[in-house]
């Protein structure tokens, strides 16, 4: 057991470190260091352009999408080399946030399901950051029950083979900055819900696509609603067969959960330093026994996540696939950071109410408090993740699904109506 690199890994790390040292946008470092949850913190220039500039520079030197094949704009490196890159990229990794969904979820889906010509056209600009992608999955009436989605795609009547899309998506991160979207839509309402779906990709500049930012509970607008009104998509932009959309979406979702859970911190180091700063009964909070007990609880969660991540890296380093233990990442991190923020505000006393970037402790715990509810929902809610652990890791039976064999068009859409009918 050790935390050391193999000689090859050490050599790769040295190469990466020197390139990053020579090329990273160091003028942004101070701002990135003061970033808060949900806010990248860049104000000196357009943050989107800053992200794209760093990604382009990486791509030109062969450091973009390290684990992708070269012909698709990647670096053809091992998963372990990608881990080392991420570790070395450090604070500048935040500049990759704009591309996380595209490169982490949409890209792998295109790679798995598109034809070769499409892959060579779509993937390199995605890798280099010239084109940004979003994922058009969730709808107002279908979140956890994604397969209940209602956005319709029907064949155009003009014989062109094109599809005409109408409907609405929601919770689309980064849609306002995206060039392309990965869209799942219903193509057949007469079969059970999982069977009537088809996956497409489309230009977000297509006529009839309208992006409306959602003003979120924390005051920011990173999520959007996307409306489709008679949007035309060529059949060549279909991924997988007609009716195979659910299967295609599983590729995306598996990648989503890995991406969101990976390497999450709960804010514990910041909490520890807060406990040395603020006082309880005239002494640093860290000396108070109640505070200490809570701190220890947060510590073992933070460290448990950290070393769970290192176990996964160990597997990658040996050329193996990480085990199911990684499925706990987002479930633990989301709930822990929310509890941690509430505890931090409590320690701040009445000043805990102040949320200013130049206020007490840069307002960072307030930012966590206000953003963390979303972490517990996005990319699989806590409840869905517990189902996944229960069913896929522990082998428990699936939930009863009363709509499994019912044609989509016959599935009830309002609990209230059904209850009234029953009464």
């Amino acid at each position: 057991m050790d935390f050391e690199d193999t000689p090859q890994e050490a050599a790769f790390r040295a190469e990466v470190r020197s390139w990053i040292d020579a090329n990273a946008p160091k003028h942004l470092e101070d701002q990135l260091k003061r970033a808060n949850f949900g806010d990248m913190g860049i104000t000196s220039e357009d943050p989107i352009q800053a992200c794209k500039a760093w990604q382009k520079k990486k791509a030109e030197a062969g450091w973009a999408c390290l684990h992708w094949p070269k012909e698709y704009g990647g670096g053809n490196r091992t998963p372990m080399e990608r881990v080392i890159w991420n570790q070395e990229e450090g604070i500048f990794r935040a500049l990759g946030g704009l591309f996380t969904i595209g490169q982490g979820m949409c890209g792998p889906t295109v790679m798995a399901w598109a034809d070769e010509e499409t892959r060579r056209r779509m993937l390199p600009p995605l890798a280099s950051g010239e084109e940004v992608w979003c994922q058009l999955f969730s709808e107002p009436a279908s979140g956890s029950d994604l397969a209940g989605l209602r956005t319709r795609a029907v064949k155009a009547e003009d014989g062109s083979g094109d599809w005409i899309v109408n409907g609405q998506k929601i919770w689309t991160s980064g849609a306002q900055n995206s060039d392309w979207g990965l869209l799942i839509a219903r193509t057949d309402p007469d079969v059970p819900k999982h069977k009537g779906l088809t996956m497409f990709f489309l230009s977000m500049k297509s006529p009839g696509v309208e992006v409306r930012p959602i003003k979120q509970a924390n005051g920011q607008s990173s999520f959007n609603e996307v409306y489709f009104t008679d949007v035309r998509i060529p059949d060549s932009q279909r991924l997988g067969a007609v009716g195979q959309g659910w299967e295609v979406s599983l590729t995306t979702l598996m990648n989503e959960r890995l991406s969101i859970g990976a390497g999450m911190s709960t804010g514990f180091p910041q909490l520890l330093s807060l406990c040395m700063d603020v006082e309880v009964d005239g002494k640093p909070a860290v000396q108070d026994s109640n505070v200490r007990s809570k701190l220890a609880q947060f510590a073992v969660r933070e460290m448990g996540l950290k070393y769970t991540g290192m176990r996964a890296i160990t597997a990658l380093s040996k050329g193996e696939t990480p085990g199911p233990e990684n499925s706990i990442g987002k479930l633990v991190a989301g709930a822990t950071m929310q509890d941690l923020a509430m505890f931090a505000l409590d320690l701040q006393g009445q000043s805990g109410v102040i949320w200013e970037k130049d206020g007490p402790h840069d307002g960072r715990f307030q930012a966590i408090l206000m953003r963390s509810p979303a972490t517990r929902i996005e990319g699989g809610s806590d409840e869905i993740l517990r189902n996944i652990i229960g069913e896929r890791v522990l082998g428990l039976p699936g939930d009863i699904r009363v709509d499994k064999d019912v044609a989509f068009k016959d599935i009830p859409t309002s609990g209230r109506k059904k209850a009234a009918a029953a009464a």
Binding site: M1, L295, A299, V300, T308, A315, S317, I328, R386, V393
Partner: protein, 374 residues
């Protein structure tokens, strides 16, 4: 990066698991619990013959000379079957005390016997209720004779030798080796929530006592050895947590209610998922502890407290919810659930309560180790 055990260590783990299952697994614990025996002598002898007791004891003292990582995988397997043997007292503690602080003569006198299972060791620290600290030690040694009362002493009912914390002539807390079969020692077995690992009160009235380590170094050495033992015990707790989770999972698959296996209800499914989360966090923290133990890293005190807190809670969490998943059957003596519940709650107190270790964890994170830990 290699936060994993070697193939040889995994093979040892399999071997120990097969050995323990062949002997009846958890049934051995039940047998001791329901008899007057203080531990399973046959099993203990078998573990000695397998080389398990002496795994981390050097060959020159009768051990096998493997590493503490090997002892970690052994501990996990002992924990899975909540083995009714005094390995923690004799090997994680007494033998470690001798290895860390014993003189050559003391090592030669006791380590071969401990490794062979011919003698059992114990650590006599506690003196009554409340959190233990050096100021609470009243037992004292004067002119090489020990006087005082230690309670509770884990495996004190069956031990042949004890490492006793007592004040020296000058009043400094020191450690002493005491032959429990010699004069001036009385013992009484105490009732306990987990009688498969006996607890005793030891009363010393002029028992011959031999200094272990330097005079006045007692608390310092005890802290170091308890850190090491905490990591090994965390592995036992981890094994127990995993097994309790598996029992609950298996029952949830088999038991029907409302026409469905109860594991298909989210109330049960999510409870089991949370148990898995606890056990997984504990396992990762235990790996951190094992690395620190084997490498002698300066982070050892932080790693020990982390593994200890995490594994104590995971075992308690899994053991109590295992009963809950089993419903009424889980509260019968016939089902094994209570055996794990007993052991989980007893181990959570051994070496100091969870709140004591939480306190130590924060102490250690805020004094020097903070950069490495956080």
């Amino acid at each position: 990066m290699n936060l994993d055990f070697s193939d040889e260590q995994k093979a040892l783990k399999d071997q120990v698991r097969r050995f323990l299952e062949d002997r009846g697994g958890v049934a051995q614990m039940r047998a001791v619990l329901t008899s007057d025996a203080s531990y399973d002598k046959d099993l203990y002898k078998g573990l000695a013959e397998l080389g398990v007791l002496g795994a981390a004891i050097p060959e020159e003292f009768g051990g096998v000379g493997l590493s503490h990582l090997d002892l970690c995988v052994v501990a996990e397997e002992l924990g899975r079957v909540i083995a009714p043997v005094p390995v923690a007292s004799s090997i994680y503690l007494a033998a470690e005390f001798l290895l860390q602080a014993g003189s050559q003569a003391q090592k030669e006198a006791w380590l071969p016997k401990l490794a062979a299972g011919e003698a059992i060791g114990a650590f006599a620290l506690n003196e009554g209720e409340g959190r233990m600290g050096p100021e609470k030690i009243k037992a004292s040694v004067s002119g090489g004779k020990l006087t005082g009362t230690k309670s509770p002493v884990a495996d004190g009912d069956c031990a042949d030798v004890a490492i006793v914390a007592a004040k020296s002539d000058s009043g400094a807390v020191s450690l002493y080796v005491v032959d429990l079969n010699g004069p001036g020692v009385e013992r009484r077995t105490l009732g306990s929530i987990d009688p498969s690992r006996g607890q005793a009160v030891l009363t010393f009235s002029g028992a011959p006592a031999e200094l272990l380590g330097g005079e006045g170094d007692g608390w310092h050495i005890a802290t170091q050895v308890m850190d090491r033992a905490a990591i090994l015990m965390a592995y036992e707790q981890l094994g127990g947590a995993d097994r309790a989770l598996e029992m609950a999972r298996d029952y949830a698959l088999e038991r029907m209610a409302f026409g469905r296996p109860i594991g298909s209800f989210q109330a049960i499914k999510h409870m089991l998922a949370d148990m898995y989360v606890s056990a997984t966090l504990a396992r990762s923290n235990c790996y951190y502890g094992a690395w620190a133990l084997a490498s002698g890293a300066s982070e050892l005190p932080v790693a020990a407290a982390t593994a200890r807190v995490s594994a104590s809670q995971a075992f308690q969490h899994c053991a109590k919810n295992n009963i809950q998943v089993h419903g009424g059957m889980g509260f019968t003596f016939e089902y094994d659930c209570h055996l794990f519940y007993r052991r989980a709650n007893a181990l959570a107190l051994a070496l100091g309560s969870v709140s004591t270790w939480e306190d130590m964890l924060v102490d250690r994170m805020t004094t020097g180790n903070v950069a490495a830990a956080a």
